[in-house]
Assembly symmetry: C2
Homo-oligomer: 86 residues x 2
């Protein structure tokens, strides 16, 4: 899995998820720093129909296993911090 290849593939994801994985629209999740296993599982679920979403089902349908692994590696490579309110 090659995060750099994932970075260029993620051009198609950035409109909703952001290239840095911080969602640009409220109905899309953040992907920044997500574990690659989670991302691969969800993309394959959208591809197989186990999980459904009007946009993601269409986008995932044409993704190969290799492309999925690159995308997952890209988003996992983004460093995140989380700060709870006092």
């Amino acid at each position: 899995a090659d995060p750099e290849a994932g970075r260029s593939l993620a051009a198609q994801c950035r409109t909703c998820h952001g290239l840095d994985g911080i969602a640009r629209i409220p109905i899309a999740p953040h992907l920044a720093g997500e574990n690659r296993i989670y991302i691969e599982t969800q993309l394959k679920a959208f591809r197989s129909g186990k999980r459904e979403h009007e946009m993601m089902s269409v986008i995932a349908r044409d993704l190969s296993d290799e492309e999925i692994s690159h995308l997952a590696a890209w988003y996992e490579s983004i460093e995140i911090t989380a700060t709870m309110p006092e």
Copy 2:
């Protein structure tokens, strides 16, 4: 929606998702800073069966709309940063 009420409710989520929303296990997503609309949509999907997961389907089944709104408000209240690799 009350983030503080959500914080106490999130005690049942922290084993996998972390109280700060950074996942503790690779198959669970981060929830930190997620938009409350996304979280509410997913919890209601798990509750209705539109989305399925062996653990989440069971956990979500007993959540009320109000509890879901509190949990979503809690995780949304966590501040996150994302830093892309050079």
